[in-house]
């Protein structure tokens, strides 16, 4: 007689980051934050961890604070908290909007910013928003702490640069005066669905002249990606961006590497990247009359 494959697993509730890191050193251990992805994978029999290390009781990870020109968001901050947070909404609306559009109310109520990055599904909302906002991730592990950009952390399709014993402790988003940001997701079927494509844009606009323009795309490649050509829009005088914006949007589409799936064919997604990149840039620069 043998036991069924989905047998017993240990459930650990460390109280500090150090204890979590140590617990994750065990073979077959996985970190659990909100558990929305882990719970789904385990429930479907796609993952059979031997140790579950729950990060939900580590005070350090739930801090959300501002200082040194940045917002530091603890890894277990929930998406619902981000979406409703007054400072997040005014200072970095792209992040609030991205968090507000994830899945459904129940997912947002418990899913965390750390889990959203750790899951690394290319259709996810937060990675493009955080990438455009130039956020950095603090990671703690057996060899100490290090800092990574979003596209260093998420290094491929459902893949991260994290070692088995590493946890994300916080996400740091720079706060820049005069910076605008916006996040748009295209869900032509159901608003509860993953986006067919998603676009985040940020820019500083002084006297109608944009600088520091960043554009990031989700859903159209193995991971969210930046569109460096976005800087072409910088310096263009007020109301004279149209040609540049169109060029950048085409560049964004050229960089896309989408797959055919239920949300759309690769060819369609590529076309949608161009449309939504343009719309996001227009929104961000105030060209479509809507406050980002």
């Amino acid at each position: 007689m043998t036991d069924p494959p989905s047998g017993e697993a240990a459930f650990l509730v460390p109280g500090t980051v150090e204890a979590a890191v140590e617990a994750l050193g065990a073979a077959g251990a996985v970190a659990v934050a909100g558990g929305t992805s882990i719970g789904l994978l385990v429930g479907q029999g796609l993952l059979a961890p031997s140790v579950l290390v729950w990060l939900g009781r580590i005070p350090e990870l739930s801090v959300l604070e501002e200082g040194d020109g940045q917002m530091s968001i603890g890894a277990t901050t929930t998406l619902a908290t981000l979406a409703a947070h007054p400072r997040v909404r005014t200072a970095v609306p792209a992040l609030a909007d991205a968090a507000a559009s994830v899945g459904n109310t129940r997912v947002r109520a418990v899913a965390t910013i750390g889990g959203a990055l750790g899951h690394a599904d290319p259709r996810q909302d937060l990675p493009p928003a955080l990438l455009a906002l130039d956020a950095r991730v603090e990671v703690a592990g057996g060899r100490g702490r290090r800092h990574l950009a979003i596209d260093e952390l998420i290094d491929g399709f459902m893949s991260t640069d994290l070692g088995p014993d590493e946890v994300i402790t916080a996400v740091r988003v720079p706060l820049v005066d005069g910076r605008r940001s916006c996040y748009l997701r295209f869900t032509p079927g159901s608003a509860d669905d993953y986006p067919t494509v998603a676009v985040a844009a940020t820019a500083e606009v002084a006297d109608g002249v944009p600088t520091a323009v960043r554009l990031a795309i989700g859903g159209a490649g193995p991971a969210a990606y930046l569109v460096p050509e976005a800087e072409q829009v910088e310096g263009a005088p007020e109301g004279r961006w149209a040609a540049e914006v169109a060029e950048v949007a085409e560049a964004a589409a050229r960089r896309a590497d989408p797959v055919d799936d239920r949300l759309g064919s690769a060819a369609y997604k590529r076309r949608m990247v161009a449309v939504w990149a343009r719309r996001a840039l227009e929104r961000c620069l105030g060209a479509d009359g809507v406050q980002p």
């Binding site: 697993a9 719970g39 579950l52 459904n104 129940r106």
Partner: protein, 154 residues
């Protein structure tokens, strides 16, 4: 693992596999008001409250409910009687399989959810195949109005 929590206001202890879902645990304890539908977090028939937050119990790991204050539909007559009444009076149900989840979800709404658009957005993850949502939205708006102490418009 041994799960210690409170369910519908009473202490709850159960020996469960750490990888089981809160849904399995609750139903296994005879609390069958919470339903199993999609099992992937999409339909909402398994909605319960964990420390005041609405969660999909089908994918909520039992371990994450340690020490938590859990409420299920069976406790709603006590915790949110006006929501239960609103659903009965507005006939916010047809077959009723989605109803426990709808009621728990409405019970978790904050006062900021005031109008129809807000209700529809909040409840978008609680599917209903029967009603077309009209009477459910009615019931949710009624419940919110009652909670604000307004006389429910009819």
């Amino acid at each position: 693992m041994k799960l210690h929590a409170r369910v519908n206001g009473s202490p709850f202890v159960a020996e469960v596999p750490a990888t089981s879902s809160l849904l399995e645990v609750l139903r296994g304890a005879g609390l069958t008001g919470t339903k199993e539908g999609c099992r992937i977090g999409v339909c909402g028939v398994c909605t319960v409250l964990v420390d005041d937050r609405p969660v999909s119990s089908c994918l909520y790991l039992a371990g994450c409910a340690s020490e938590a204050d859990i409420w299920t539909v069976e406790g709603m007559a006590e915790r949110a009687p006006s929501v239960v009444d609103a659903f009965v009076e507005c006939e916010g149900m047809q077959c009723g399989i989605c109803t426990p989840g709808q009621i728990v979800a409405v019970a978790s709404m904050g006062p900021d959810v005031r109008d129809e658009n807000g209700v529809r957005r909040y409840l978008s993850g609680n599917l209903c195949r029967c009603t077309g949502y009209g009477t459910i939205v009615d019931a949710a708006l009624d419940a919110q109005a009652r909670r604000r102490g307004e006389v429910a418009p009819t």
